[in-house]
């Protein structure tokens, strides 16, 4: 059976952002159907579909909703539109072209969890997206899909956009919660999990934009349709990003049966390398998951296979291709710099570890690497992550996987580069960098 895209089906359709076009293409019918069911029935359907979170961790959405205390009075929904993992842009595509799909999905999730308010956390750099989404929200209010007594069902939901202000860690669910509360985005120690004590200390559900955009389709077509796509551990349609020097950088919808090689090379996906360039490596799941060498590209882009290649997980399923012309030391430095500037600084091993790895990577790039630096990077990585639970949030673990996999898989290249450094350069660079 040929794969039929649903998440991106409105992309490229004239006026896809407007409620009129969205409704004319079947939009908001799933919501009507949902409102006739009980909230528990909706939760069950989503559990049955095994919709795993698309925000990076892959936790099943229905199960997460099930953690909400039964006797709660108020519930809040946070829509995670922070999308700041380089090089990920699938949430942007969804919100830019089909904002009503996200709004409909958010109302369905709001109904299933009996939430009173949905806060859409949007990173501030999404200016265009903000204006598009705010207009769509206004349209949805005017049409009676948001606000009091939605479509006469007795269920009410308010929806507000909360704009961030430039901090990667606010994409982490408890950092996001703190940020909505008007504080610095310092992640919280868990437990308590947000479902029990979250935003304003109330039971809270945080879901990713793509996760929620799946809901109208699950409700419309049923869980069986959803589970018929992809392997049992990775059901449903999935968005994949590909960028770097490929012929067709972009966001594509596929089942989680494709391999990383297909994503990069298939004519209808990445389209292969630009100007006959050769692949040096691919970071297949955002920068936090780690790197694949050219002979590892048959990795399946699903929730299970990445672990077989030393990666942290599927992550955001956003692949960036590195070509042979790029120095691996520059890649290393770019990634360490990202984590060093974005660590929130609460946990000592994350704050110090990311900063030291960045110093080491900088001196390597400036031809001041020392022979022991590869091992020093591995040791730092081991001390700051790779052991879930030692840090308050997942940023620390995410910072170590690219470093560890780059050093392990490209060690020969790094050591050859260090051996080829000019005499006396190390002392010079050490002074400049430290």
């Amino acid at each position: 059976m040929a794969f039929e895209p649903v998440l991106l089906k409105n992309v490229g359709v004239e006026g896809s952002r407007t409620i009129r076009v969205y409704e004319s293409r079947g939009g908001y019918q799933a919501l009507r159907k949902t409102l006739k069911m009980t909230p528990d029935e909706v939760v069950e359907e989503v559990k049955k579909a095994n919709l795993r979170g698309r925000g990076g961790a892959g936790f099943p959405a229905g199960v997460k909703w099930g953690f909400l205390p039964k006797d709660r009075k108020r519930t809040l929904l946070c829509v995670n539109g922070d999308e700041s993992e380089p090089p990920t842009f699938s949430n942007r595509v969804l919100m830019e072209h089909d904002p009503h799909q996200l709004i409909e999905g958010s109302i369905i999730a709001g109904y299933a969890t009996q939430s009173q308010v949905a806060y859409i956390y949007l990173r501030v750099e999404f200016h265009e997206v903000f204006h598009i989404l705010q207009r769509a929200i206004d349209e949805a209010y005017a049409a009676g899909y948001l606000g009091r007594n939605i479509l006469g069902s007795g269920y009410s939901l308010d929806c507000y956009i909360h704009r961030g202000a430039g901090a990667y860690v606010c994409g982490e669910e408890t950092g996001l919660i703190e940020s909505i509360e008007g504080k610095r985005g310092w992640p919280r120690i868990k437990p308590p999990f947000p479902a029990v004590e979250g935003l304003f200390r109330l039971p809270t559900v945080v879901n990713n934009v793509e996760t929620l955009s799946n809901l109208p389709h699950i409700m419309e077509r049923g869980a069986d349709w959803f589970t018929s796509i992809g392997p049992p551990h990775s059901t449903g349609p999935k968005l994949f990003c590909v960028s770097g020097p490929v012929k067709r950088p972009g966001c594509y919808e596929e089942a989680m049966t494709i391999t990383c090689r297909e994503l990069v090379e298939r004519a209808d996906l990445g389209g292969g390398m630009l100007d006959g360039r050769k692949i040096k490596g691919v970071l297949p799941g955002g920068v936090s998951m780690g790197i694949l060498t050219p002979d590892e590209l048959d990795m399946k882009m699903d929730f299970a296979d990445p672990a077989n290649y030393g990666l942290l997980g599927l992550g955001t399923a956003a692949a960036v291709v590195i070509d042979q012309g790029t120095d691996i030391r520059s890649v290393l430095r770019n990634v360490t710099h990202f984590f060093a500037t974005e660590s929130c600084g609460q946990c000592t091993q994350c704050r110090e570890g990311t900063a030291w790895m960045d110093k080491v990577a900088h001196r390597m790039e400036r031809q001041g690497g020392r022979h022991e630096d590869a091992d020093l990077l591995l040791e730092t990585a081991r001390n700051m992550g790779m052991m879930p639970g030692l840090s308050i949030c997942g940023l620390s673990d995410g910072a170590t996987y690219p470093i560890e996999t780059i050093v392990k898989k490209y060690r020969d290249e790094l050591e050859a580069a260090i051996a080829a450094q000019p005499e006396g350069r190390v002392q010079e660079v050490l002074q400049a960098v430290n």
């Binding site: 842009f89 750099e125 265009e128 204006h131 206004d138 901090a167 610095r184 304003f200 950088p249 974005e342």
Partner: protein, 211 residues
């Protein structure tokens, strides 16, 4: 590295200075209160609005925001200092934000940054003497399929090559969006929601006023 000192010697809050936040700005901030369980949660919206009104968030404005939200001024500074988007000293009329993350770097973003530095004769975190442009870098702007890219205020410029820089800088409308704008987070009055319909915001075509 070139280094321009910011004046940190003159008093940052003048004694008996008139209030910095206008009634319109205060009203705009108050319109966010019904959205949240606490007043403090309106802090990020407040900072966006104040930065739009004043161009940056001076210390005196932080004190006034604190009064409005019934929190301590140090809470405001604590939040301001965490986020890269807020400026505590004046910035240029247009801020150029160049992406420095992996896709943009692989696709030549560093060359674009160098060209900008050359043509504007400023470094990162600096402002041109005429106050027109400030130059900063940021991590991934989620426009990686269009790498290398940069923002000029709200507008995303895609697939920028060094040879495009002069033309982009010469364009009067290089910060103009193609979509209708919401004025919700602006300092302007038109967007102020009536008390009854807290969700509604007004739209205008094209660019908002940025005095």
């Amino acid at each position: 590295m070139s280094w321009k000192a910011i004046d940190r010697i003159s008093p940052v809050i003048e004694k008996d200075a008139p209030p910095l936040l206008s009634e319109v700005v205060r009203g705009k901030i108050r319109s966010f209160f019904p959205r949240y369980e606490t007043k403090r949660a309106a802090l990020l919206p407040a900072l966006h609005i104040v930065q739009d009104a004043l161009g940056h968030v001076p210390y005196q404005a932080m004190v006034e925001i604190a009064e409005l939200l019934e929190i301590h001024p140090s809470d405001v500074l604590d939040t301001v200092s965490f986020y890269t988007h807020f400026w505590t000293h004046p910035k240029g009329e247009r801020v150029i934000t160049v992406c420095r993350s992996i896709s943009c770097e692989v696709m030549g973003g560093a060359g674009v940054l160098e060209e900008l530095k050359k043509q504007l004769s400023i470094g990162e975190h600096e402002t041109t003497p005429d106050g027109r442009y400030s130059l900063v870098t940021e991590e991934c702007l989620a426009g990686c399929d269009h790498a290398p890219c940069l923002l000029i205020n709200e507008k995303l410029h895609k697939r920028v090559r060094p040879q495009d820089v002069a033309k982009i800088l010469a364009d009067q409308d290089n910060d103009r969006l193609d979509v209708p704008r919401s004025t919700l987070f602006d300092a302007r009055e038109e967007g102020e929601a009536p008390a009854a319909a807290k969700q509604q915001s007004t739209f205008m075509e094209g660019r908002g006023t940025k005095e």
